[in-house]
C-alpha cells in the first residue's frame, strides 16, 4: 500500500531548488541539444543528397541556430564553472557567486549573438 515513489518531470521542475537546479537542467538540455545537433550535422555532411539537404535546412534555420547557440554557450560557460569547482572543492562554498558571474557572462554574450543572428537572418 502507499503511493509510488515516481516523481514526474513536472513535479520535479516545480521543486523550488533555486538557481543551481536551474543551471543543472539547462546544462543537461544544452548537452543533449549539442549532442543531437553535432550528430545530425555530421550525418548530414556524410550523407549529402536529399536527406543531407533536409537536415542542413533545419540547422541553418536561424531559430535553430539561436537554440544551438544557446546550448553551446550555456553548456560551455556553465561547464567551465562546474569543472573549476569540481577540481577545487574548497571553492564550492562560493557556488552562488560563481553562478552569478556565470549569468553575468552568459546573458550579454548570448544577447548580442542572438541579436546578430536574428538581424542577419532578417536582414539577409
Amino acid at each position: 500500500m502507499g503511493l509510488n515513489r515516481d516523481v514526474s518531470l513536472l513535479t520535479g521542475l516545480r521543486y523550488k531548488g533555486q538557481g543551481p537546479m536551474l543551471t543543472f537542467v539547462l546544462h543537461r538540455i544544452g548537452g543533449l541539444g549539442m549532442g543531437i545537433f553535432v550528430t545530425t550535422h555530421i550525418l548530414a555532411s556524410f550523407l549529402g543528397g536529399e536527406a543531407g539537404a533536409f537536415l542542413n535546412a533545419i540547422y541553418e534555420n536561424w531559430a535553430f541556430q539561436i537554440f544551438i547557440f544557446f546550448c553551446a554557450l550555456f553548456h560551455a560557460i556553465n561547464g567551465l564553472r562546474i569543472t573549476i569547482l569540481d577540481l577545487f572543492p574548497k571553492l564550492i562554498e562560493h557556488h552562488r557567486e560563481a553562478i552569478w558571474i556565470e549569468w553575468a557572462v552568459f546573458l550579454p554574450t548570448f544577447g548580442i549573438a542572438a541579436l546578430v543572428i536574428t538581424m542577419t537572418a532578417l536582414g539577409g
Binding site: 521543486y15 523550488k16 572543492p89
Partner: protein, 235 residues
C-alpha cells in the same frame, strides 16, 4: 494572524490518490510549522499523520516539503515562510499516509556505505584513547552533524530519477568516516561510492545543500570525496 495552510492528504485505506485540504488557523509568526500541524491534529482532524519527536531540529523525524522546498517542520517558523503555507510529503519515497513516507529505502542506502567506524589495528597499549589532533578532528566535523532527516536525498533530482542512487545523505556519512584519521576503511568506502549508482549520479544540482537543516555543505562534501577518488589524498 490567520494562517492558511494547505496540506497534502492521503489515506491508504480509502484513497486511490492524494488530495489537498485547506485549513485556516490562528497562529503567531513565531510558531513552528510543526506547532500548526499539531494544532490541526488536535483540534481539526485527528487523522492527520506525520512524524515528529524532538521539536527542535535534532532528531530528523519531520522532513517535509514546505512551500515547495524540503525543510524540517520543527525548524521552520511561520515568519520564514509566510502565512500561506503548503505542506507536502518529500519526493522520491513512497507515501505511506499523509506526510509520512517510507524511509526504508533511505536507510538501506545509508547502510550501503559501511556507516560505522572501522579500525582493526590494536588499541593503544595503555587502553587509553586513540590520539587525534584537533586539526584532524576538524577535518570531518561538518559531516558528523548529519541527523539522517533525508531532506537532502529527497530533494535531489538524480534521486528522484533513480532510487538506487545512494543519495547525498549516504555520501555525507561516508565522508564522515573517509576523512576520520582514525578510520581504516576509506578504500572500501571509495570503491562502493565509485559504483554506477554511487557518486557518479551526483550532477551538482545543489538542492541537497540548500535543503540541509544542519547546514552541511553537501555538494562540497561530495566534491571532496570525488577528488579523493581521483587523487587518493585523504587530508
Amino acid at each position: 494572524m490567520e494562517i492558511t495552510i494547505k496540506i497534502f492528504r492521503y489515506n491508504p485505506e480509502k484513497d486511490k490518490r492524494g488530495h489537498y485540504e485547506v485549513y485556516h488557523v490562528e497562529g503567531d509568526e513565531n510558531d513552528r510549522v510543526l506547532d500548526i500541524l499539531e494544532y490541526i491534529k488536535g483540534n481539526h482532524d485527528g487523522t492527520l499523520s506525520f512524524r515528529r519527536s524532538c521539536a527542535h531540529g535534532v532528531c530528523g523525524s519531520d522532513a517535509i516539503r514546505i512551500n515547495g522546498r524540503n525543510m524540517l517542520a520543527c525548524k521552520t517558523l511561520v515568519r520564514d515562510v509566510g502565512e500561506k503555507i503548503t505542506v507536502e510529503p518529500v519526493l522520491g519515497l513512497k507515501i505511506v499516509k499523509d506526510l509520512i513516507v517510507d524511509m526504508e529505502p533511505f536507510f538501506d542506502n545509508y547502510k550501503h556505505v559501511l556507516p560505522y567506524f572501522i579500525n582493526n589495528s590494536p588499541l593503544p597499549e595503555d587502553g587509553r584513547e586513540r590520539l587525534q589532533s584537533p586539526e584532524d578532528r576538524a577535518r570531518f566535523d561538518e559531516t558528523t552533524k548529519c541527523i539522517l532527516c533525508a531532506c537532502c536525498t529527497t530533494s535531489c533530482p538524480s534521486y528522484w530519477a533513480n532510487g538506487n542512487y545512494y543519495g547525498p545523505a549516504s555520501i555525507v556519512t561516508a565522508h564522515r568516516f573517509i576523512f576520520d584519521s582514525r578510520d581504516e576503511a576509506a578504500a572500501e568506502r571509495l570503491q562502493i561510492l565509485s559504483e554506477t549508482d554511487g557518486i557518479a549520479r551526483c550532477h551538482t544540482a545543489y538542492n541537497c545543500t540548500e535543503a540541509c537543516p544542519r547546514e552541511i555543505k553537501i555538494t562540497k562534501v561530495i566534491g571532496e570525496v570525488k577528488m579523493a577518488m581521483v587523487t587518493g589524498k585523504l587530508d
